[in-house]
Symmetry: D2
Amino acid sequence: MIITLKKDALQNEIDLLIDELEKLGIIVNLIQGNNFNVLGLVGDTSKVDEQRLKAYEWIKDVTRIAAPYKLANRMFHPEDTIVDVSGIKVGGNNPIVIIGGPCAVEGLEPIISVANKVKDAGGVMLRGGAYKPRTSPYAFQGMGYEGILAMKEASNKTKLPIVSELMSADKIDEFVENVDLIQIGARNMQNFDLLKAVGKINKPILLKRGLSATIEEWIMSAEYIMAAGNPNVILCERGIRTFEKYTRNTLDLAVIPIIKERTHLPIIIDPSHAAGDYKLIESISLAAIAAGADGLIIEVHENPSCAWSDGAQSLKPEKFKTLIEKAKKVANAVDREIL
Amino acid sequence: MIITLKKDALQNEIDLLIDELEKLGIIVNLIQGNNFNVLGLVGDTSKVDEQRLKAYEWIKDVTRIAAPYKLANRMFHPEDTIVDVSGIKVGGNNPIVIIGGPCAVEGLEPIISVANKVKDAGGVMLRGGAYKPRTSPYAFQGMGYEGILAMKEASNKTKLPIVSELMSADKIDEFVENVDLIQIGARNMQNFDLLKAVGKINKPILLKRGLSATIEEWIMSAEYIMAAGNPNVILCERGIRTFEKYTRNTLDLAVIPIIKERTHLPIIIDPSHAAGDYKLIESISLAAIAAGADGLIIEVHENPSCAWSDGAQSLKPEKFKTLIEKAKKVANAVDREIL
Amino acid sequence: MIITLKKDALQNEIDLLIDELEKLGIIVNLIQGNNFNVLGLVGDTSKVDEQRLKAYEWIKDVTRIAAPYKLANRMFHPEDTIVDVSGIKVGGNNPIVIIGGPCAVEGLEPIISVANKVKDAGGVMLRGGAYKPRTSPYAFQGMGYEGILAMKEASNKTKLPIVSELMSADKIDEFVENVDLIQIGARNMQNFDLLKAVGKINKPILLKRGLSATIEEWIMSAEYIMAAGNPNVILCERGIRTFEKYTRNTLDLAVIPIIKERTHLPIIIDPSHAAGDYKLIESISLAAIAAGADGLIIEVHENPSCAWSDGAQSLKPEKFKTLIEKAKKVANAVDREIL
Amino acid sequence: MIITLKKDALQNEIDLLIDELEKLGIIVNLIQGNNFNVLGLVGDTSKVDEQRLKAYEWIKDVTRIAAPYKLANRMFHPEDTIVDVSGIKVGGNNPIVIIGGPCAVEGLEPIISVANKVKDAGGVMLRGGAYKPRTSPYAFQGMGYEGILAMKEASNKTKLPIVSELMSADKIDEFVENVDLIQIGARNMQNFDLLKAVGKINKPILLKRGLSATIEEWIMSAEYIMAAGNPNVILCERGIRTFEKYTRNTLDLAVIPIIKERTHLPIIIDPSHAAGDYKLIESISLAAIAAGADGLIIEVHENPSCAWSDGAQSLKPEKFKTLIEKAKKVANAVDREIL
């Protein structure tokens, strides 16, 4: 950590601060500059609060050099984390997983029917929302527990593990019992109580990036889950909010090499929420594979114009099948396989 | 609602859609254009899902004309909502309220001490976090229930109503019993389960705008609370996330006239989180008053460089006092008063 | 175009507006709604100014249905535009072009040397800046005309066509004489005088997307060039400005299918400026190919840590060569070829 | 400047770099850390290129401590710059200037008429565009030189100095001869050739902030003008591009205290382009005054719904007059005056 001091800082105030830092076991080096002086801190600065330091009137700025995350940091954990989702291994050199299914579960028969189509097309997990975060209180809020049970039944019939979003810690037992991969949605990425709650279970977690979360904040949210005891985190990019309005969000594919460089966690891509438009899905899905993604999670609906939510961005099963066939070729081109 | 149809749309498909819409009690008008045709929908279109319509391959676009919110909409509720916070009236032509206090409660004595300073300076409510949303799991997470009790004690001694952030629905009883104005933080603005939970109580709610929430999404989150039965919502702008890095967030003061035009709810401004730098607070606070804000919520700490969180953006009590004195003059200049 | 009228609009004012619109040859349809009335305009509304209409106090909103661009619009020009750059065909089903070279020309010998390396690696055009847009007036501003002549000499020796950025219309003759593909940089995307100037020549133009330009604004800037008489426009995405700071910009690859759907122009990708970090280039370049890009333009420098500008994002020639080899495989996987 | 080195950096490579830096007259201090080493550079680092340093594979990061601007930097020029616009002094403790006028000049008679209204209302300068940057090539592009002459005539009749936008260096003589305050528009804020050109004249320049320019980039553009020899720069905030769509741009009023802290230049606010909606102008104008702005530049049109451009955001003269009256009260409340 680097602390920049204004030239008018009083020596006794600086000395007090240095004393305090040294008591934390930190070694402090002073560099005298022309317009500013600089304190270089060596040691574990994770306990030092930048905001507090910035409150001194004689401190101009504080710059952190080491990343604020430890458990997720590849520097301290060089090998890839492999997350096991009911037998399917995600991350490392494992085959790429493609997950399909509707935005929302709409009933037992529809979810079984689409699950079969997802499986026939080559999908290896089934997604489906039973609890739905909707901008409007007047929109369909999901089938709830009944939806979870329908997903479970579809899983029993197809042997596809299931992915579903948990919105509230009070439903956690229901999810632990029935869901194979528990999703924390973009809007809850900094719902820290929920992160702590899923950190205490041993199910794999799919952590979506928040709409305007920096990559660092996103990794810090993974760190919350890991620090609470659950190392089984898969990250999922789903587009960030920008000024552009031709797409629902702007998909940030550079996160793939960045996450792989800075962390050891698997990363998958959700092209459906990023694009918001089914016509764009295939193109950006192939891009994600080429960039090195460990998986894709795609909305699939048998009749998108009748979907209870997110119809505009859902693929029909036949298009999903075509996409997987093309994805296999691209995966091979970058020396990987689709599971 | 306006539905734009591609010219190659098949008449029987259009007819099926029109039938379906008419069954919802909607009147459909067709306009034939050169390159597109348009369906103009008249009636209550709040039940029509835009995303679903966009899934038709022969539909080019869907545009909503009426706002998606009703209870918060000034069109259907022209008079200002006045929210009563333990006797202090917020909104309408009532005097502007200035709320002060530390980011985080740090103990019984400190909170009582700063509460007295806030009161002496002219503040009329006390803010303080007992449960803290922190980006890092290694940062101070708040004193929890003990902090709430300390706030309550400070309130008893000073007669200042208290404002504190609720992060999880399982603490709601504790807040209903002790807190006068329950804050929903920016990171939880779309934690819909939490919104529904505070919609079922009759305490006033301070709803902060999310970091990248549009004004419409923010109003929709107020609508969630109101639709669940609680009309006592105060909106709070605290800056949005942009590319600019000299400030922590970008304060969007145009929301003040916009919120007053489109809704009937009170709106207050949080300059502390917007700026992230104590040196900017006074200037943007006065701007907020001039723009018509119904209140300010400002971080005040007796010794910012010792604050357990957000020291950089906290004002010392004497600066807070100066700010209130200046605010009074600006309020008078725009024909309002500071409480 | 759809004009939404407030219910209190006076009939005689509406009638005056309708008269005026009908004089422009536009047919106006009125739909009576519950809370608003709507005018649906049929005909060529490109002459109608939305901003002017919004100035009426009784008009609530104005929504454009048809895209504001015509010459670039695929609706009116379904076949792909193929741009010929000194014999290299760009766009349509033509092979993908990969352009390499330094950010800035640094002398005759260095540019000839790197040009040979670019060619050996498989690059088919040479990029290099002679006039450099730099944020700081104290940074190297480019070699100017001397740099252009050095590029030309490198082109003579290698037979690679050259790409260079034109910053000011007064240098246009110099560029027409020497440069094969004239780049308009991101910072000048809305320098409309410059767009008009390059619209009057018949050299191909590489139009970069502005840092915060919407896709629509970017197409409108292409429209400027085309409306002035030059149809030879290649679009180039180079990342947009967002809140994220781990990358220099956020690369928006969804533009590839969007540009191909809405326009008939070729689109190439600049991963170097998007990423700002050489370690990310390969991954996002392969993604761009998989998404359907017609080309890549990549910064290559023999000794990046000695580059006079943008060293951090430059590839060494051997890495550029590896990238092209991998790109060939990905191109084949999506049924295309690298030239 | 702080250079963070990876632990695997080779000593001889570091030594070479240190040698090179010392040749530039820079003193280099080494701090050994646990996971990284740090070089602290003392001296004039404005010649050191961060991007070049980042290209070394063994350098993790480079952080600049001193601001990259010098001439605009208050640290080296503590007193306020006062810019004299044909006798009107802008900046420092001088009275606040309010500038009014149409977006575009629409003819001699209209501009004289509105100039009189602007003057009667209390405006002290006249704005008006003769060369207009328009997103669409089919929109009105301005009257050109005829417009400039009309402005000049209006100035002669009213004695109001005039402000108009220069879009291209080839019109500079025309502007020097006729215009009192030459505006560089948001879209040209990084048209560096234009900045250099206006740096060579001695007329005052009004430099608008770019749509997505950081405050630092904006100051650097002022630095370009100043470095070329013209110290008479007034900065103008006009809103930045964000995800929010209820306003045309997001007005960033925190720039006022920031610009005053970091630079010595005057700053004025353009609420019209920020808001894009006349109903918001008064509120945010008063906010700007309260925040400490040195002036306002506001679009005024006698008949906004007939304006040739930007009608939606233009005030009628009577509303402009009311605004100025209210602005006087707010100015007094913050111990300033309106000229």
